[in-house]
């Protein structure tokens, strides 16, 4: 029961996050419900994989992004939008922003540290956070774009349906 509550809570807040970040990119309202749905499914999947199955963030993020990418393909003709216009914003709640700026903080602290052990520690933090961020983003991008390239015909003719209607 607690697991279900956690998952539902994760889905709700990731859907809100996906809608909000989609609005910055001027995503049309008609596509926002798909952003919310895909964001909720993707993030909650990553949440379960990381917290309940103990799977590493890189693999979890890749699998979640792949599911978002695959689901976006059949939704594209329905939403009459290219799949990336709602699958990319749906991915945003999973962008490891914390790792990105911790890497930069590590760099700042490296330069301001006085002794070798402090430098080594911050250098480690910079590399650990930076490397994790880059690999997670690469995995997510691979996961979300693979279906677009595999299902090229659907992906690049989604907006065509609009004319036929």
């Amino acid at each position: 029961m607690e697991l279900l509550f956690d998952i539902l809570q994760d889905m709700l807040f990731s859907a809100l996050a996906a809608i909000g970040f989609a609005s910055i990119s001027n995503t049309p309202f008609s596509a926002m419900k798909y952003c919310a749905l895909l964001g909720a499914v993707g993030h909650s999947l990553r949440f379960v994989m990381m917290n309940y199955m103990g799977i590493h963030i890189v693999i979890s993020a890749f699998v979640a992004a792949l599911i978002i990418g695959i689901l976006a393909i059949p939704f594209a003709p329905k939403a009459k939008c290219p799949p990336e216009t709602f699958s990319y914003p749906a991915l945003l709640p999973m962008i490891p922003g914390m790792y990105a700026y911790r890497a930069v903080q590590g760099l700042v602290l490296c330069l301001s540290s006085n002794d070798e052990s402090a430098f080594d520690h911050y250098f480690y933090l910079m590399n650990f956070n930076g490397l994790t961020c880059v690999i997670v983003v690469a995995g997510m991008v691979l996961g979300v774009t693979l279906p677009i390239f595999v299902f090229k015909r659907i992906s690049f003719s989604a907006t065509r349906e609009m004319i036929k209607d």
Partner: protein, 256 residues
């Protein structure tokens, strides 16, 4: 012949530049332009560079050509424009629009206004506050992040309206948001003040450029990919500098 090629080349070049400017992936720009060129009965050679689109249009027999360079138009990522421009390429292909009619529709699309800025401000603040909850922050921390994002993002909107450089805007927005985000520590409001502080600047992370960089990389557009990636890294550095500045002002440790 010359006027015909000139008109079509200028339209295609402006079209590709508008798509590049609104954050479309290179593969989508290529597909849409190919579709338009086929309908116009011309051949197109196009070079997509980070800050220019170079277009060469040939007639069917490759005897006459016209070339044109355009700078990307539009200030920020705009999926609405991306969708409308993609739709226009299909209208040209299926309705066999003349390029004069296509140009009129194109002008209409690029003059469409964005979503209401106050609505975007509210949605973004809610999104960032939700982010804090996703990281495990308590509801007081969520409230702090909401306020920090509201003020930080409003500052960003005002500065961008005044055409201030995006990097300076990002540093200052992150600085203001992090100072407000640190109020959990300052007033002992929340049980998770570190999450409030850490999340308060996440609305500035340039997620779409990172994803577009990856997509261009897989499509073989290495130059655009690297350019978009560097742009995203620079903005991440800017937001981190703003955050470090805010933490320095509030006399906080960077890592606990």
């Amino acid at each position: 012949m010359h006027d015909m090629l000139k008109g079509k080349c200028r339209f295609i070049s402006s079209y590709a530049a508008a798509l590049l400017g609104c954050g479309a992936t290179c593969i989508r720009i290529e597909k849409n332009v190919e579709r338009i060129a086929r309908t116009f009965g011309v051949h197109v050679d196009m070079t997509l560079l980070p800050s220019h689109v170079i277009t060469v249009v040939w007639d069917k027999d490759y005897t006459h050509s016209y070339n044109c360079q355009s700078k990307p138009t539009g200030e920020a990522i705009d999926f609405c424009r991306n969708i409308e421009l993609s739709k226009l390429s299909w209208q040209i292909a299926e309705d066999k629009l003349l390029y004069e009619d296509a140009a009129n529709r194109f002008e209409k699309i690029i003059s469409q206004p964005r979503l209401n800025k106050w609505l975007v401000l509210l949605l973004t603040s809610t999104a960032n506050a939700s982010f804090c909850r996703l990281f495990g922050g308590d509801f007081k921390a969520v409230g702090i992040v909401f306020c920090a994002t509201l003020i930080g993002f409003l500052l960003k909107q005002i500065m961008l309206e005044d055409k201030i450089d995006l990097r300076i805007t990002t540093v200052l927005s992150a600085f203001v948001a992090s100072v407000i985000g640190a109020s959990g520590y300052l007033f002992g409001i929340s049980g998770t003040p570190e999450l409030a502080l850490g999340t308060s600047v996440l609305f500035l992370v340039p997620g779409i450029p990172y994803i577009n960089a990856g997509s261009d990389l897989f499509a073989g557009h290495y130059l655009c990919s690297v350019s978009r990636f560097i742009q995203a890294v620079i903005l991440t550095i800017c937001l981190s500098l703003g955050l470090c500045g805010g933490m320095f002002l509030m006399q906080m440790n960077f890592f606990n």
